[in-house]
Symmetry: C2
Subunit: 472 residues, 2 copies
Amino acid sequence: MHKFDVIIIGAGSAGLSALREVRKRTDNFIVINDGPWGTTCARVGCMPSKLLIEAANAFHRRVSFNEFGITGADQLRLDDKQVMQRLRRLRDNFVSSTLRATNELGERAISGRARILSPDQVVVNGEKFNAHKIIIATGSRPIIPANWPELGKRLLTTDTLFELDTLPKNIAVIGMGAVGLEMAQALSRLGVYVTGFGSRDSVGGISDPFINQKAVELLKKEFPLYLGERASVAINPDNHSISVRTENVEVKVDSILAALGRQPNIDDIGLDTLGVSLDERGMPSINPATLQIEDLPIFLVGDANRRFPLLHEAADDGHIAGLNATMDKLTCFERRVPLAIIFTDPNIAVVGQSFHSLKPENIVMGEVSFSNQGRARSAQSNYGALRIYAAANSGQLLGAEMCAPAGEHFAHLLALAISQSLNVWDLLRMPFYHPVLEEGLRTALRSLSAKLPAYGKSDLAACGSFNSEALD
Amino acid sequence: MHKFDVIIIGAGSAGLSALREVRKRTDNFIVINDGPWGTTCARVGCMPSKLLIEAANAFHRRVSFNEFGITGADQLRLDDKQVMQRLRRLRDNFVSSTLRATNELGERAISGRARILSPDQVVVNGEKFNAHKIIIATGSRPIIPANWPELGKRLLTTDTLFELDTLPKNIAVIGMGAVGLEMAQALSRLGVYVTGFGSRDSVGGISDPFINQKAVELLKKEFPLYLGERASVAINPDNHSISVRTENVEVKVDSILAALGRQPNIDDIGLDTLGVSLDERGMPSINPATLQIEDLPIFLVGDANRRFPLLHEAADDGHIAGLNATMDKLTCFERRVPLAIIFTDPNIAVVGQSFHSLKPENIVMGEVSFSNQGRARSAQSNYGALRIYAAANSGQLLGAEMCAPAGEHFAHLLALAISQSLNVWDLLRMPFYHPVLEEGLRTALRSLSAKLPAYGKSDLAACGSFNSEALD
């Protein structure tokens, strides 16, 4: 029986990234995909959500117009049909570019649900295929609580939200992680009456209480937000409206957006046939530096491995697995500095080690509020705050959390600094132009620097003393 | 006669930065300032220009509204009186914060024009003061060509533009450096009929022809722009309109904004009394690492020394001079990586070594166009391009030029990278979130990396091979 070099199960971001590497070294592979081809990111994730956000923020900017000296903002209207049409038009274009890689594969691209029968055999549509290596990249799907009633079309997830012709009038967004926050703010800015519910006191993966408080304050100015209690969902006796309840509040809505995270699509992939132990969630042990499952010729990548449901991590997973599935020797790769960004306004971001993961006695912190920052005031974006954490003994930058204007850009700058093991003085030696939002970041760095024993007289590096006497 | 430790001449950005250091170590100083107190940056530079730009860009965003699904953009009107009122209200607030440092000095703050009589003596308002050290921070003023006719109020500079109650109808902006570009685009977006004139073929200090071409293309879509010829200015016989002429074009305008750069205020400061040689522009020799004039106890800082008319450089100048004027030993400081940003949309920036300053045979280049970048397309900001230069032998990043969305943020990221002597692979190892504009920067980095001999299989760092046999 023919034996493929590699079978890739799943043609999402991780699978396509693996495919890119596999194709460089062999033609003897197949890709199996269940459900629609095209990635979660392009179809129902990063891209359509950003398109909704861009429209929402464009419309929202009218609240700044009066102060800027622009009249007529009250004449602006949102055509939600047009918003959704543009969203899908660009979304489809983004999806089509992800499809190019598999469209040309011909018979090597198989539609169907795969199941692993043994470490070198897969069955799909009743047909068995053998392979030297298998890459599992089956992705994830939105979590829907089992105890919710049957809500039909009134229950939305990111799988269905972007297919709407028009926006709902009144929605509860349940779950205040990245997706919940982004969609709650965007829908609210688009004119939907939004109520947000989060079971934790913190939102968006922020672990620093100071940053979380700033973020929650800002979000609460835009829509009601109930945190710290699990929300229950019930259909009212009129069989029309839906009630969302916590202990202290009841809200009637037309529809619900479930934003409770995603679960990996590994339920019936056949991990149980591999002879490896699975944890209580059904997950095998994976080496994040190789993506290998124990010592099997099988790799588990992307959302399916539960590590980080983030495109750039999925792409790295696929890249590493694709290389390791086609190279003579198994190579272990250093993973990147952790980086999570939520595209709310202001942006929320966590870079490097989170506040929660650090021991207070080992770190010093620097912080800045943007409420009085010059450039931010000019742009009417003077909201939010940022905190940076550094090692108390060396000043080495360890992490940062923020809810800040241009946070997505600060997050990249700090990720570079952390990935290069830079300390606070290394950063203070770079130029900060004027007037820029990065000057706020510098304020935080300086406040951090001032708490360290090695705090000096200057941000600049001395290139030596002339050892001259005083000049006069 | 009393001898001060330090006399600071000029209370602008450089002088105030010097003052901050001087005050830490002595009370025996005076500050002399000619003309209005408050810095060029806050009064007539960085800050009011940014306020005009923010209003202009807010109004300009309406051109994206139809595509975003927002109707009624044609009902928006700009109230230029309100724009200018907000500008001055915030401007005055920014100025007041710069005044705080000198307001509390009492008699140690002297208004008047100082002249140096000898290396330890200054005269102001007929009174002589002696000092161990003198810091000259007299700033600069806009250049007006001597051969222009007397235009009265129809001639604007940044000294007068921000004082207007209403905006002119029809203006020629002469000079396409930072100020000219920023103001030409902003005024055009605010509804003024703008014509731009630049004597060079390049604009905004861009030296890379590819980037310059992109910038000029984009600007020409917004207003007529004539480059490569010096413009002459004449009052028409009707004595009302002004004609601006080059060899090939004549434009009639109501007013002119002179944006031809700034000249240092050193004409009659008394540099000729110091016994040092002056160049053809009247400038003495200065050590940029100490700001000292030759071996005199005199420091020349900020715009007055002609190095870079940029706030962050002026602040560093003042800081270094303030330290060196009050410390026992003269210390030399490493200056920051060069950074220039122009707050046009898209931003223009030059970081590190410019294209022009590098030898083609020593570098490799990476580039990206933003026209098809995913996030930029989502935001309707998919314009512009970026080029990065690295050493051909090592991949070390040397510089970049750009006209790109979020260019001000890329410029800071690259300035950090260059200041830390990072190479292209160091940058490729940082996380790039999705979807962000920084992914465009990564495209440029990858295109650069692919041209280098050390180009490898992965952006990620290998942490070693297991040296195992192939897995199956």
